[in-house]
């Protein structure tokens, strides 16, 4: 699903957020990316959803070489990926229903179909009773569930989550993780960036460790060899 070959991301001459990163994530895997603040977790995630380009190296995502992807095709790539953020990134003046529906509206899907799918998805994340509410009226956990619903509504092949539980308490964190496990069980590859060691240990999943922009552990799935 994801292959990174000698990927470097430099912001200025002396600021290297990622250095010579090589890693591979297989289709259907559930992976954590961890490391201290400034290790490069967020940069890695941003490269994966093409918010930025790598300075050096190649990233292959679902058989698409991101280095060769032109700006016009980025939206189409993003429609195959779901992204969840620590700050939820919900549109404050749109209802929860509308916030989830927006991910389908951009594809030009007919309104009836959108309604059907959104209702189903909101039921899945147990938010159907709050569908007419606006995000500021919801708790942190509910807002994150809405963000997850939006990320999953178009059946992405890959779900990226950058510190998705950073603003949530322990109970709600477990609830959100349960959702991620369910999504993964249905075949979606899940990559979560988190610095929460207790959470990562509790999940017993593969962990890619970053330090100072370099991968220091977990670059490969246990059953695979070292990437080229």
């Amino acid at each position: 699903m994801i292959q990174m070959f000698h990927v470097t991301k430099q912001y200025a001459a002396d600021v290297e957020a990622l250095s010579d990163v090589n890693l591979r994530v297989r289709k259907g895997e559930f992976v954590f990316v961890t490391g201290p603040s400034g290790a490069g977790k967020t940069t890695l995630m941003r490269l994966l959803f093409a918010a930025e380009g790598a300075t050096k190296g190649q990233i292959i995502l679902n058989n698409v070489n991101l280095a060769r992807l032109n700006a016009r095709n980025i939206p189409h790539l993003r429609r195959t990926i779901g992204v969840v953020f620590q700050d939820f990134k919900l549109i404050a003046n749109r209802t929860i229903f509308e916030n989830v529906a927006v991910a389908l509206e951009v594809t030009g899907m007919p309104g009836d179909e959108i309604r059907k799918r959104v209702l189903r998805m909101l039921k899945m994340v147990h938010l159907h009773h709050r569908m007419d509410s606006y995000p500021p009226r919801l708790s942190g956990g509910e807002q994150q569930r809405a963000a997850i619903a939006r990320a999953l509504i178009h059946d992405p092949v890959l779900l990226l989550a950058d510190e998705p539980t950073g603003n949530l308490d322990a109970d709600i964190t477990q609830e959100v993780m349960k959702l991620f496990r369910e999504v993964n069980a249905r075949g979606t590859t899940v990559v979560i960036a988190s610095h929460d060691k207790a959470l990562i240990e509790s999940m017993s999943k593969r962990v890619i460790a970053l330090e100072g922009g370099r991968v220091v552990a977990g670059a490969e799935s246990p059953e695979e060899g070292v990437p080229a």
Binding site: F49, P75, R78, K89, L90, I91, V102, V106, G108
Partner: protein, 297 residues
């Protein structure tokens, strides 16, 4: 809902949700339209005034002594038939004398004691407006001077030159002012529209993250810009018309009467269309540029 209606619905909803901000944009924008319209109004009336002065320009061909009225009228018809001439009127010796008496009503004694009419018959020739400020007038006057029966031709050489300079100056001033106004207008309008786009910066970011194309994000903003531009230009034109009706028209008429050039008029239909159309185009472009700044996500 199909796409055009979807985008229109989004634009209208955005306006409704941010109505106070939109009101500020439309108000500020319409004041800009009033200022631009005022310059347009003054400029067009100034141009009309100069043209009215130009209408007073004419060529006078004095006829030789002894040319009778029939012959004089024949020469006038011949001159009027020329393509560079708008009209030619024969003025008999006696008509010239009676005009002279009328013009010098207070000095009637000057004419007493004259045994014969000293004034020659003449032909007053009007040239079309487009030739008034050009050297064509000189050429036409010289050509008329060669006609048989014509003694002398007068065409106010200095006036022709001054009129040309005034027209050229006005045209230059108009172009310079238009550029300045366009620059200032663009600055103000794009700043105002940026406010509405900036207010929805995070919404743009979310749309881009879920796979919206640039045109999907941009279209509602462009519709909003068109609506803002239309509303502001109509409101601005209405305010300008109110000011014109309330005070400018009366003031202009009084000044015009003093100068002997008549009153002033409001913007023509095409000028109003230019004001509305220009505002809409500016608002559209400002929205395009403002959204472009937030699309790199």
């Amino acid at each position: 809902m199909n796409r055009p209606f979807y985008f229109l619905h989004r634009a209208l909803r955005n306006i409704r949700e941010e109505w106070l901000l939109n009101l500020r944009v439309v108000t500020g924008f319409s004041l800009m339209v009033v200022v631009i319209g005022l310059f347009l109004l003054v400029g067009s009336n100034l141009r009309a005034l100069v043209h009215r002065w130009g209408e007073q320009l004419q060529i006078t061909a004095y006829l030789k002594k002894g040319i009778d009225e029939q012959e004089g009228r024949r020469i006038a018809r011949m001159i009027a038939a020329q393509p560079e001439v708008e009209g030619a009127d024969f003025v008999s010796e006696s008509l010239a004398l009676s005009r002279f008496r009328k013009d010098l009503a207070g000095l009637s004694g000057v004419l007493e004691g004259l045994e014969e009419n000293p004034l020659p018959a003449s032909i007053e020739i009007r040239v079309p407006p487009e030739l008034r400020a050009s050297t064509e007038v000189v050429r036409v006057a010289r050509q008329i001077g060669t006609l048989p029966g014509v003694e002398e031709v007068e065409y106010g050489q200095q006036w022709v030159e001054r009129y040309g300079v005034i027209l050229q100056g006005l045209s230059l001033l108009g172009t310079a002012l238009s550029l300045v106004l366009l620059f200032v207008g663009w600055g103000s309008i794009s700043n105002l529209i940026q406010l509405t786009v900036y207010a929805r910066k995070s919404e743009i970011e979310v749309l881009k993250l879920v796979g919206a194309t640039d045109s999907f994000v941009r279209t509602p903003f462009l519709i909003e810009g068109i609506l803002q531009g239309t509303a502001a230009s109509l409101l601005g034109t209405a305010i300008l018309y109110g000011v014109f009706q309330g005070s400018l028209e009366r003031l202009g008429s009084e000044v015009g009467d003093v100068l002997g050039v008549g009153g002033i008029s409001f913007l023509s239909g095409s000028q109003m269309a230019l004001l509305v159309g220009g505002s809409v185009v500016l608002a559209f472009l400002a929205s395009f540029v403002a959204t472009g700044r937030h699309l790199r996500v």
